[in-house]
């Protein structure tokens, strides 16, 4: 500790530097606070709303338990109960668990990385507002008998128009589909944030475990959510237009939904669990006052879980009659995913054992210990249900209800409460009460186990899930009564926590309660609205332990970027592996555009649900217009030149191309689009395996002649060529090149023409989408193409407008780069689609 450290900047700092910094990051006041984008403000809003949904869905849970307390109860009617359990599950999964974890990412990540904010502050604000509006409207359907009642898993045919008339199911499909989009926006933010806005010196292997967890969390969202987005699209299209994806009579298959849904649904569990495990891996070392034992193995566990969790979706379908050996593969993967959990549990035990003196028993550590116990039980029953024959018995019974509540409440809610108690000092003037905290913990812990442990037995002795009542005399009465009593105890614990929040939680950005735990990571640095005064140079995993003076140094502005040299909001972008400073990102401040975009997009989706198509379209147009306004303000251009961040490092304040954060965001978005398309390719092949008899040329009109796909491909190649040429022709700043707008328009036109040719070609053969599953799949490819084509056309138009206003040249070219990147992807996707749609039936037929 005594070695003399070289620091990037000299103290004392110039007098006006801090003022400048404060001015740049100042919060809007009054009602304009809703335009704020600072991660600490919107992060708390985000987590607050997510917690509100937890409480609301929890109340539904208690109502269900009350109904089931005694046999043949009629407190809640059958129809209402079906709505309640659907909304309970949907809300807990989509409106609470995932958003809560994203919220923690928004709130904690920039602090842990000592970044001034996430790289796209308005994108997070957009995602949050969209989620708030969409989520609240969705939840409120329970109050006017409009709530979906097909279960949170929404299996067709039950959710098809025939068996679910009315708008109830559409609220699920459009509402949740929309919230998934918001989750993906958050995931893009988190990936780019973790990889590119770390403090200098924080290589991948020095990241806090939570950052690893969030990175994998976001990556999993990118792969998993598109599957369910595709599924909801297919189901909504079948409900509205009768394209038979899931109707067996016309070559569809109800199981296709289950495959797509669980390809999302199972990873979803780990999407929820991984960040929570990451949080635990942060709290345990703090309480032990020792570094985490087995940091690298935990990383192994996180990555391993991320992968293996995609290999066990069929374990929700063990009883659907799939061949035994296929079940065996997924059972094997279910076993494989258990090992990473084992690694983490042992790592936490080892860290506890390694404590300096003894492990500190505080409210956060109580919740962590409770989590360890509950999660172990949940993991063990998880292995049991992974044994295929045993699952034949316990599948869809209360045993499974018990199992996944152990995994989810144990694996996510307990760590979340630990998180509340642990990190609230970072954002509040006061800590929460340790004394009340212990009451909260014991009530929740006891209540939880009393509620859910008996359910294992209830299920084994025959009680199925999702039943609104049960007859007397089957031996289920006592166990159900016990569970109900337990749920009241659990609810009392949560209520006590809410009281504690009201009494002591006072959000703040400047005067927080400090670092009561003496933890080692950067979020405990002294902060203001601008986060840390200067961005520390990091050389280890627990910088605050290794350099106790770090807080003072940072506050004195002796580390990187101590001021606001461009006079605006900014943070350092570093390289993804070793975190070497690359450039300064200039970030937008408060604004209305993203807010308008979010609210109107939510309105568009919800109005579609109730079939007010015209108004919905108007809202969508307003939303897109707001997005364009928002995008227009982003590309500042290189006008501010280079700035000195300290240690003699001068960084540019503008970046385009593969190093820029915008390029990365687009790349991530393209990954999302491609996993959506891969899910489509899977669906296409899957339906072919199920019903080859409806495929062309035997069961459907012959494919259009070779000329059609060939012509389409040529259009795509021509468009791509035009796009590539534009890059070469971009003039130097101030120059002109009149050919650019027509070239961009040509590219967009080629794409549009290719899309139309594909649809027209099939239409001419007499193939119709509602005819059979083959027709539906063929036209579905064009629906997916339309999404990217539409985006490309908008972006190309945007680039033309940038050029015409003199904001696009060889240096200032982010607008072009994004359009081009997406364009190449769109062309690729459509070419692949041509091969599949025109080639496959010829090959297989």
């Amino acid at each position: 500790m005594n070695e003399v450290r070289e620091l990037p900047n000299e103290a004392p700092r110039p007098a006006n530097e801090l003022e400048e910094l404060e001015r740049a990051w100042k919060l809007p006041t009054g009602f304009r606070l809703i335009t704020a984008v600072n991660n600490q403000v919107i992060g708390i809003l985000y987590i607050g709303i997510a917690f509100l949904f937890f409480l609301l869905a929890g109340v539904l849970g208690v109502i269900m338990r009350t109904q089931l307390a005694v046999p043949e109860n009629d407190l809640v009617s059958q129809d209402l109960f079906n709505q309640i359990f659907t909304v309970h599950g949907t809300t807990m999964m989509f409106l609470f668990a995932v958003p809560a974890m994203e919220a923690l990412g928004v709130l904690l990540l920039p602090q842990m990385l000592a970044a001034r904010d996430l790289p796209f502050p308005r994108l997070s604000a957009f995602a949050i507002w969209a989620y708030i509006v969409g989520g609240l409207v969705f939840f409120s359907t329970i109050f006017y008998d409009l709530a979906p009642k097909g279960g949170w898993f929404m299996y067709p045919p039950l959710t098809l128009k025939e068996y679910s008339p009315g708008d109830n199911a559409d609220f699920w499909l459009l509402g949740i589909g929309f919230i998934e989009i918001s989750a993906i926006a958050g995931a893009i933010e988190i990936i780019v944030g973790v990889l590119r806005t770390r403090p200098p010196g924080m290589s991948l292997t020095r990241m806090p475990i939570f950052a690893w967890a969030m990175l994998i969390f976001a990556a999993m969202i990118m792969i998993a959510f598109p599957a369910v987005i595709l599924a909801t699209m297919l189901l909504e299209i079948e409900r509205s237009f009768g394209w038979p994806f899931f109707t067996a009579d016309k070559g569809g298959d109800p199981l296709l939904w289950q495959h797509l849904f669980w390809f999302f649904g199972h990873p979803e569990v780990y999407i929820i669990f991984l960040p929570a495990a990451g949080l635990v891996s942060m709290i345990v070392p703090a309480m032990a006052r020792r570094p985490l034992v087995g940091y690298r193995l935990i990383v192994v566990a996180l990555i391993g879980t991320g992968f293996f969790s995609f290999g066990l979706w069929v374990h929700h379908m063990f009883t659907t009659g799939i061949p035994a050996l296929s079940l065996g593969f997924f059972s094997a993967a279910s076993m494989a995913v258990a090992i990473p959990s084992g690694i983490q549990v042992f790592s936490w035990i080892a860290t506890i054992a390694s404590s300096k003196e003894r492990f500190r028993i505080t409210t956060p550590s109580l919740f962590v210990l409770g989590f360890l116990f509950i999660f172990t039980v949940g993991g063990v029953t998880g292995v049991m249900v992974a044994l295929v024959p045993l699952d034949f018995q316990v599948h869809d019974t209360y045993f499974v209800v018990a199992h996944f509540h152990y995994v989810l409440i144990g694996g996510m809610v307990f760590p979340l409460f630990a998180t509340f108690y642990y990190w609230i000092p970072m954002v509040s003037r006061k800590m929460l009460s340790e004394r009340l905290g212990r009451w909260v913990f014991w009530l929740m812990f006891i209540g939880f186990n009393v509620t859910f442990f008996p359910m294992h037995i209830t299920g084994l002795i025959g009680m199925p899930r999702r039943v609104w009542t049960y007859p007397d005399g089957l031996g289920w009465n006592t166990l159900n009564m016990v569970s109900t009593v337990g749920s009241y105890i659990l609810a009392a614990g949560v209520a006590l926590f809410v009281i504690d929040l009201f009494l002591r939680f006072r959000p703040t950005m400047e005067n927080n309660a400090g670092d009561p735990w003496r933890a080692g990571t950067l979020e405990w640095l002294p902060t203001g609205a601008y986060s840390a005064r200067s961005i520390p140079f990091v050389t280890s995993r627990e910088p605050l332990w290794d350099n106790p003076n770090l807080g003072t140094e940072v506050e004195e502005g002796r580390h990187f970027l101590p001021g606001a040299p461009t006079g605006e909001r900014e943070t350092i972008v570093t390289s993804p592996v070793d975190a070497k400073p690359q450039y300064i990102i200039r970030m937008p401040g408060p604004g209305w555009a993203h807010l308008v975009a979010a609210v109107f997009m939510a309105a568009a989706f919800l109005l579609l649900t109730v079939k007010l198509v015209t108004i919905a379209l108007i809202c969508a147009v307003i939303s897109i217009a707001a997005c364009i306004v928002w995008g227009w303000q982003l590309d500042h251009g290189p006008g501010k030149g280079e700035v000195d961040i300290g240690a003699g490092i001068k960084l540019p304040t503008y970046m385009a191309g593969p190093r820029s954060h915008a390029w990365w965001a687009m790349a991530v978005l393209i990954l999302v689009a491609s996993s959506l398309y891969i899910a489509y390719v899977f669906s296409y092949l899957y339906l072919w395996v199920v019903s080859p008899e409806v495929w062309a040329p035997h069961g459907s009109p012959d494919l259009p002649g070779f000329g059609w796909p060939l012509g389409t491909a040529l259009l795509l190649i021509a468009g791509t060529g035009s796009m590539v040429l534009v890059r070469r022709m971009l003039p130097a700043p101030g120059g002109r090149e009149p050919a650019i707008p027509p070239m961009l328009a040509l590219a967009a036109g080629c794409l549009l023409a290719a899309f139309l040719a594909e649809v027209w070609g099939h239409w001419m053969t007499g193939l119709r989408p509602a005819q059979n599953s083959y027709g539906a799949m063929v036209y579905m490819a064009s629906v997916l193409n339309f999404q990217v084509v539409f985006a490309c056309v908008v972006l190309a138009g945007f680039a033309i407008a940038r050029y015409l206003t003199g904001k696009l040249d060889a240096e200032r070219r982010v607008g072009y780069e994004n359009a081009a990147l997406l364009y190449y992807y769109a062309a690729g996707q459509m070419l692949l689609g041509l091969v599949l749609v025109h080639g496959f039936p010829r090959l297989a037929g």
Binding site: R296, G321, A324, A336, D578, K580
Partner: protein, 126 residues
């Protein structure tokens, strides 16, 4: 120990190479699952030939298991193949992470192999 001076040099780490290096094991595991699941489903649904199915599954499983073992045996050569630089910070950590991930993936593949040896192909779930 990273020095302040290092911050002035460009990053030698190639993100994609590093990612590929540490996730090669799980990626191959995923490839294995995809192939065996799809092959089994397609062969049973369309050709209904348990013998062919078992043969394909066995070959794929053995091939990928051997590949993973090779990676485990000579990790450094594999790293060089992917052009993972030696100069990135804490390079050893990446080796260790990659090693254990490959090991877990191998276990996963072998378990699938176990299923192939015990269960008959194309038989119904019961």
């Amino acid at each position: 120990m990273t020095k302040l001076d290092d911050m002035r040099r460009p990053d030698r780490g190639n993100m994609l190479a590093v990612l590929l290096f540490i996730t090669a094991g799980p990626l191959l595991w995923g490839l294995h699952l995809t192939i065996v699941y799809m092959a089994h489903t397609a062969v049973c649904a369309l050709a209904a030939s348990p013998g062919a199915a078992t043969a394909i599954l066995a070959i794929v499983t053995v091939a990928l298991a051997v590949l993973l073992m090779l990676i485990l045996l000579d990790q450094q050569r594999f790293a060089r193949l992917l052009k993972v630089s030696q100069e990135i910070a804490e390079r050893g950590s990446y080796d260790r992470i990659a090693f254990f991930l490959t090991l877990l993936s191998l276990a996963g593949i072998l378990w699938s192999g176990l299923a192939v040896t015990i269960l008959s192909s194309c038989a119904p779930g019961r």
